[in-house]
């Protein structure tokens, strides 16, 4: 039975974890220092037997620690959602399951909840004081900023503070939890990025090609989510229209050559390319129309706006 608390800290434990559960005690100290009633919930995504044993041992003496076990590994988004469903605190704090950010930074994020609805960390190095993350992170965030119009600099930071109203409103399926700050900003919540000190032991695992692919797909999904939602035909129509225009120009060029300059069409691959472009353009356009139809038939249910207050 969950008691009423002001702050719920959720630690989704996926691949990267601290086996000994030492982080739990560290977080516990930092949270106690805030002077708010809180719960510290570990969501075990998959079997983490060793960690679970340690946590259970800690929980015996620390009543704030709670453990939620998922039946198998579902991914971080599901772990977070499960954590949200089992907690009640008005302020939600997500914490990385491995030593990523100094636990002392929790206070700054939680304090900023007076003025903001979402606070996300931006990691900077302890030794040099410089922002961490190389050119790749900058490139990723630059791209995200370009397509969405919202500039963030460290969406991947695992330490975030959110109001419950934010998590209630924004669905977190797939990998979208990573973009929660961005989605919240789009819905008109007040979002702030705060500098946090990276742990000195923070381990950057070697990034595989799979991670890059996943990030790229993240960007793609955010593009669709942002561009699509209201007017799909504008997006599809633009891409389809360009392909169609290029294709038709090429076709007419080829036809003019065939008719007036007697250049045979038979051995020209350009013909195939251009007619394919025309067909593809029209297909994209048709898809855009289908999208419009979906929006139109559902527009009555999807409120496009979010209301802050109503007087009288």
């Amino acid at each position: 039975m969950a008691q009423v608390v002001e702050l719920s800290a959720i630690v989704p434990v996926c691949d990267l974890k601290d086996e000994e559960g030492e982080l739990a005690l560290e977080y516990l100290d930092a949270l106690r220092a805030l002077g708010k009633s809180f719960e510290l919930v570990f969501v075990l995504d998959g079997e983490h037997q060793k960690l679970r044993a340690h946590l259970e041992r800690h929980a015996a003496s620390e009543p704030e620690i709670r453990i939620i076990q998922l039946t198998r590994s579902f991914g971080e988004a599901t772990a977070l959602t499960a954590g949200l469903e089992h907690t009640t605190g008005d302020i939600v704090l997500t914490l990385p399951a491995y030593d990523q950010v100094e636990s002392g930074e929790i206070r700054r994020l939680v304090d900023s909840m007076d003025k903001f609805d979402v606070a996300v960390g931006r990691r900077r190095r302890k030794d040099t004081g410089r922002y961490s993350g190389g050119i790749r992170r900058q490139l990723f965030h630059g791209l995200v900023g370009y397509v969405t119009g919202h500039r963030f600099r460290d969406l991947g930071c695992g330490m975030r503070a959110l109001r419950r109203s934010v998590t209630d409103e924004i669905p977190l399926y797939g990998d979208l939890y990573r973009f929660i700050a961005l989605l919240a900003a789009r819905r008109g919540f007040r979002v702030v990025e705060l500098d946090v000190t990276e742990s000195s032991v923070s381990h950057h695992g070697g990034k595989s090609a799979r991670v890059y692919l996943a990030r790229l797909l993240d960007i793609l999904s955010i593009v669709f989510l942002v561009r699509f939602t209201k007017k799909p035909l504008r997006f599809f129509g633009m891409v389809g229209g360009i392909l169609f225009a290029v294709g038709s120009l090429l076709v007419s060029y080829l036809v003019v050559q065939r008719l007036f300059f007697n250049v045979a069409l038979a051995d020209r691959p350009a013909l195939l390319l251009s007619s394919l472009l025309v067909v593809l353009g029209l297909q994209l356009f048709a898809l855009g129309l289908l999208g419009e139809l979906i929006i139109f038939t559902h527009a009555r249910d999807m409120k496009e706006y979010t209301i802050d207050k109503i007087v009288n």
Binding site: E292, T297, A299, R300, N312
Partner: protein
């Protein structure tokens, strides 16, 4: 709470005009013998619009103020006001004092005559000629031609609606420009009357003329939805028919060539196959469209039913008329 009239006004950074706006609307609805409310929708203003409006709302219970969390645009603001409105008749107008609330009684008169939507026409529009009036003239002409609803001024915000019609018309993105066109799909009776238009007193024009591209695509959407109000498969089938036909002819041609010359014309055969593929794709898109429009919460083909009414016959009580039932 049942109301007779709701006046919906979207506001975006109108701190200077909100007071005057309230006064002018209030003086009009005070003279009307109607239960009326005003709904001011603050579309995420960055100035004191909301503060000033809510101060007025403290004095006058008839004024409701809605505050958006951020700026969502004029259509969304109108949609929110319309969603919240309790009146049987809903009047929308601009928040920049360019519309004149004194025209509201004229609009209501037309509604009483039996029209579902009354559209204002700013016949002496007080805006810049080249940047506003000429593009709007062209846009209105095109919209009228394509939708078949010849309205001289689609962009005028001052409109009156019967609530049961407007509350069922999907309103999103920039669609407010097409409300009359969409409502006419629903069979609404539309009237257009001349309204006053004043030059801007405060601030800059905020909702500039949208780019042509967007309006044209919106128009295409409306046209598509309007034409296939019965069955979308038919619309897509019509679209795919010329491609399928052309493809069949070209295949036949290529085959004839093959038989007579013993030589297959690759360009013709290739193009034929591609066009055929496109035709099939469009046909199946129609199938998908059919699925969407029948599972959607708003069925396009139900739109004309919004305005269906039983004709009152002499000597009979109107079955839907509760007063008549009570009398007998």
């Amino acid at each position: 709470m049942a109301m007779d009239l709701s006046v919906v006004v979207p506001l975006f950074n109108e701190e200077d005009s909100v007071g005057a706006l309230y006064e002018s609307i209030r003086s009009v609805i005070d003279d009307l013998e109607m239960e009326a409310e005003m709904i001011f929708v603050d579309d995420g203003s960055s100035d004191l619009t909301y503060t000033r409006a809510s101060q007025i709302a403290e004095r006058d219970r008839r004024l409701r103020v809605v505050k958006f969390r951020r700026n969502y645009g004029q259509t969304a603001a109108m949609a929110a006001g319309i969603d919240l409105a309790a009146g049987e008749i809903i009047v929308t107008m601009d928040g920049d004092l360019q519309n004149d609330p004194r025209d509201i009684p004229k609009l209501l008169e037309k509604i009483d005559e039996g029209f579902d939507i009354v559209v204002g026409w700013r016949f002496n529009r007080q805006d810049k000629l080249v940047s506003r009036k000429i593009p709007s003239l062209i846009a209105n002409w095109i919209i009228g031609k394509v939708t078949g609803v010849p309205i001289k001024d689609n962009g005028c915000s001052l409109k009156a609606y019967r609530a049961d019609v407007i509350k069922h018309v999907p309103l999103y993105s920039d669609m407010h420009r097409f409300i009359p066109a969409m409502a006419s799909i629903a069979g609404a009776r539309i009237a257009e009357i001349k309204v006053r238009h004043h030059a801007r007193k405060f601030g800059e024009s905020k909702y500039g003329l949208s780019r042509v591209y967007k309006v044209l695509l919106d128009l295409l959407t409306i046209k598509m939805i309007a034409t296939f109000s019965t069955r979308p498969l038919k619309w897509f089938a019509m679209l795919s028919a010329p491609f399928l036909l052309l493809s069949t002819v070209m295949v036949a041609w290529a085959l004839a060539d093959l038989i007579t010359d013993g030589d297959l014309s690759l360009p013709i055969a290739g193009t034929a196959v591609l066009l055929g593929a496109l035709g099939v794709f469009l046909l199946f898109s129609g199938g998908l469209a059919e699925l969407i429009s029948s599972t959607g919460t708003f069925e396009v083909d139900r739109m004309p039913l919004l305005t269906a009414q039983e004709v009152a016959l002499p000597g009979r009580n109107h079955p839907m008329d509760n007063d008549a039932v009570e009398d007998t």
